[in-house]
Chain length 549, copies 2
């Protein structure tokens, strides 16, 4: 190891060591970019000096409410100024931020409050009923409820509980912050989307949150003074950690409470937005905007999209409007995006489908990751031939501490020194990864892998089909067989036999679904289909078609 | 502290923790940017794949020569490909890189070899005699000498010792690297310039070297694929750590062995250089280039300059040529530049002297620093009024581990939790720091501070004076008095009385030098005047002028 012959006097001390934390970025920005605009929400405009003071207020007011270092403070908030403030103010009192998805159902919200053990909940007026109902269900002590009244969105305080600005008034704008002593201390608790089961509580540390700010700035090719629009919800991997990054660059966070084309175009034109992230669906919203909602602008807006590859048609339509789209991929477990489809200059000449296929790649490891590989079942890298499939595995400082109160799931996820994503992919010869499916969604029929995504793609072409999901159904003979769940288009009809026949014409026999069930598909609050529920149904459903494999 | 109620299973493990090290950047670049050009030196062009393989070769060949983790490997090399390779290859075998200033005198080189205890020395053919002579003087065991023959510069191997390519041939291009287990392990040993005395051995760790790559990329506003020209010598704070940064961005390092206007313009035009750093003198070289050495180019080249503020005339001449100049400030002790004169958009409209005065500011803390302040003698921040003076103090992860084999100097430098730079400055109301002098160069006469820089500035205006340095001379009555050392212009004459009279007309009495000594000024190899030598002379020199204060 790299220790010099004489290391006396070369130890850590206050001068040469500071625990890595994103709190440092805001503290520095308040010094260096004091009068620059930090945060915009409607008519609210905070300079870095003011932002810092409000964060100090929040931290000290929370402490005044009895919040102690190590406590969890939850939020049920849209992307509003208070939510950005909480990203610094909660850790600045030593507490851990648990930003809860506001689109979740009552049951899941109360599950998260119970499991996370929040001591205090900052709740938007719009979600007050949800919060109260969720608290009423708790077995443990309910969190103190603080209402955040978003006057910019036309709300008035309900008067039922303490309001955020009253809380802030109790705080001290010059209060010192609780800085971490150890960068491994926890900063955030983020529950996964719950696509594959109960959401899991992913714990982030100050070190990872800090390093992510650099990784993201580099990946997003950001320079000084970016204007960042918050479309990714702050409850989703802390908005991909961007609220923590922007102060490092002296940039501006523009809050977007309602994700409408009108609001996005207005922010781009009026605030000079340069960057935002969001699911591909956001791009469609922009493409399909009503003429009166559109605005013209001069800058090229850099858009990062995750969750699914941006479709060719979407790219073709959005890029001429002044947006440059880059795909990223990640999970709650890796602080949001962790791979990026880094664009190569030699691809500049491509167009149409070819260009879309390149942009549809899942990408390569971002700089802060030690490695992103695709592993076979023995944990060995697969050949880079676009044919072999394996599981995406990642390791490094952007991987979570683990799952809260679930050491078993943690050690299972960290098997053999890699975080196993549960996502199935192949690799291009140049190393670029391309996701094909989730591991849990792969169907193994007679020893052959069947990609649910492939079967879904075929069935989706049937003229009567609106949406389709294919899952494994246990089968005595084949182990598993594909079972399709179909939502029909309004006013259209199709029979199980028709769909199966349609698929059989286009797919190998072992890939053809053996059963088709017509129903509305269960989705998460972020619109992902919850196949684990479909699998439960498929398991119980009696097969009526005979095995025609 | 921010520990959750239940931290079981949330510990460090191979999946979620990696010691921070710049080695990770090159390893990733070899994966992600495999075929992109990494390193250019004359006709040598290495891709990232090749660069990585050569680094593996070097690391394994060094191990084969008996170099063990913790050993010191020194270099006496210009900015050539082998020097960049050593920046990764030496730490990749667990050793510590000691890049020695090639412009140093024999005595200092042998002092450094003795003090640092290098086991092996990579030496350019041009410095072979210097190296041999220095080794001959050593009391301890001399390092193994390996000659690096720069064929691109027309050298042939001397045949006297093992040549670098022979060493490389013994290495294994697939050898695994020794990665640090603890990011506090040492990566480099860099001796200060020796402006204020014997050079001190500054120790860097992997953590700081890694974090510096992000801080520098952000400060330099670098995006993907920069083309970086190595003008700052790699022996100077490891070329400001830039060789470690460029792979993170998939960029290209272009080596510049001889810092001539012709070579710089050629690199800009032929290689598309986008960024370089250098002392203000480099800018003058470009401005005064012969017409046949100039080349035209389209990009705006970002230039970062340190060591002294860029003079107004220089800025006025260089910027229209296609360069944007930013001043940075730092020391060997803080990994090179640590503050930057971050340009504010509202300054865009300024011109001439006003613009130059803004660009002449020393700046504000870079993102990786926890703080840069100006402290009074009690360690308290001075008022930001441009009048009060204090010492620049810095803290954070970009501050060295300490001085090698000198715990006393280390703890003195780290007094009260800050690294004390020894540089005197004031602060503008917006927090921007402006250096006025080195602490050791301040003259305290009758309790009043006299800035040596101010007195020098006045005397420099005397028509016969070419160069001037003012230092403190002990004085019974006043404690200290200013004493001026002057180099006259070729063919010009002036007497001591004339110079003193000239100064007295323009300065307060207590600031006027009491003695003037005509001589050639002693300079470091980087051109800084060694005032500590002048102070020794001043102390001994008999004062002939009477005290006319
Ligand atoms: N660019 C992308 N392309 C394809 N899939 C993506 C992309 N980005 C993210 N995903 C999918 O989203 C998942 C991460 O989502 P998230 O962490 O929000 O929760 P989830 O995995 O949906 O829920 P849970 O873990 O509770 O089942 C990834 O594992 C991957 O399946
Ligand atoms: N932008 C700048 N403006 C003014 N001075 C600068 C600037 N940048 C660097 N310097 C000077 O250079 C010094 C750092 O130089 P370096 O670490 O190479 O060794 P040195 O301080 O000259 O030598 P030694 O420490 O051995 O006396 C700073 O302390 C400062 O005095
Ligand atoms: Mg998941
Ligand atoms: Mg110094």
């Amino acid at each position: 190891m790299g220790w010099l012959a004489d290391e006396r006097g070369l130890e850590k001390c206050a001068a040469n060591y500071a625990a890595l934390t994103p709190l440092s970025h805001l503290r520095r920005a308040a010094e260096v970019h004091t009068d620059r605009t930090a945060l915009v929400h409607g008519s609210i405009r905070l300079t870095y000096g003011e932002y810092h003071a409000r964060v100090s207020r929040l931290a000290s007011a929370l402490a005044g409410m009895g919040i102690q270092p190590g406590d969890v403070v939850a939020t049920l908030l849209p992307n509003i100024a208070a939510h950005a403030e909480a990203h610094f103010g909660v850790p600045a009192c030593g507490a851990i931020l648990n930003a809860i998805n506001t689109r979740l159902d009552l049951d899941t919200v109360s599950y998260i409050l119970e499991h996370g053990g929040a001591k205090l909940l900052l709740c938007d007026t719009a979600f007050l009923k949800l919060a109260k109902d969720a608290c009423a269900r708790l077995e443990g002590k309910a969190p103190i409820l603080v209402e955040v009244c978003d006057r910019e969105a036309g709300f008035s305080p309900s008067g039922e509980v303490l309001e955020y600005e009253e809380l802030m008034a109790r705080g001290n704008p010059w209060a010192p912050w609780v800085m971490p002593e150890d960068e491994w201390e926890s900063i955030a608790l983020n529950y996964t989307s719950g696509t594959t089961g109960r959401p899991k509580g992913v714990v982030y540390h100050h070190r990872g949150a800090y390093l992510s700010t650099y990784g993201n700035a580099i990946a997003w090719r950001m320079q000084l003074y970016p204007v960042y629009l918050t479309i990714v919800p702050l409850f989703h991997c802390n908005g991909w950690c961007h609220t923590w990054m922007v102060p490092m660059l002296g940039g501006t966070v523009v809050c977007c409470r309602d994700i409408t084309a009108k609001a996005i175009y207005a922010a781009i034109a009026d605030e000079g937005v340069t960057h935002f992230g969001g699911a591909p669906i956001v791009l469609n919203t922009l493409i399909n905007a009503a003429p009166e909602d559109r605005r013209s602008f001069d800058q090229v807006v850099e858009v990062f999209t995750a969750g699914a590859p941006p479709p060719a048609a979407t790219l073709a339509a959005i890029e001429p409007l002044g947006f440059n789209v880059t795909q990223v991929y990640g999970l709650t477990e890796v602080y949001g995006p962790a791979t990026e489809c880094i664009w190569k200059p030699e691809w500049d000449e491509t167009a149409g489908e070819e260009r879309a296929a390149l942009k549809a790649r899942t990408g390569v490891a971002m700089a802060t990751l030690e490695g992103a590989e695709v592993h076979d079942t023995h944990g060995q890298p697969i050949p880079r031939d676009t044919v072999h499939l394996g599981e995406i595995a990642m390791r490094g400082n952007m991987v979570m501490k683990g799952y809260y109160k679930n050491p078993e799931a943690t050690s299972e996820a960290f098997r053999d020194g890699w975080f196993r994503s549960g996502d199935i992919a192949f690799q291009h010869p140049d190393g670029y990864i391309k996701i094909t499916d989730r591991a849990k969604d792969i169907i193994i029929s007679g020893g052959e892998n069947v990609s649910s995504v492939e079967v879904e793609g075929v069935i989706a072409h049937h003229p009567a089909v609106s949406l389709c999901a294919v899952v494994a159904k246990p089968d005595e003979r084949w182990g598993e067989v594909p079972c399709a769940f179909v939502e029909l288009k309004r006013g259209r009809e199709a029979t199980e036999e028709e769909i199966i026949a349609f698929a059989r014409e286009r797919l190998a026999g072992f890939k053809t679904p053996k059963q088709v069930i017509f129903c509305e598909l269960p989705k998460t609050s972020t619109g992902k289909i919850q196949k684990f529920e479909l699998r439960a149904v498929a398991k119980l459903a009696v097969t009526e078609t005979e095995d025609a494999r």
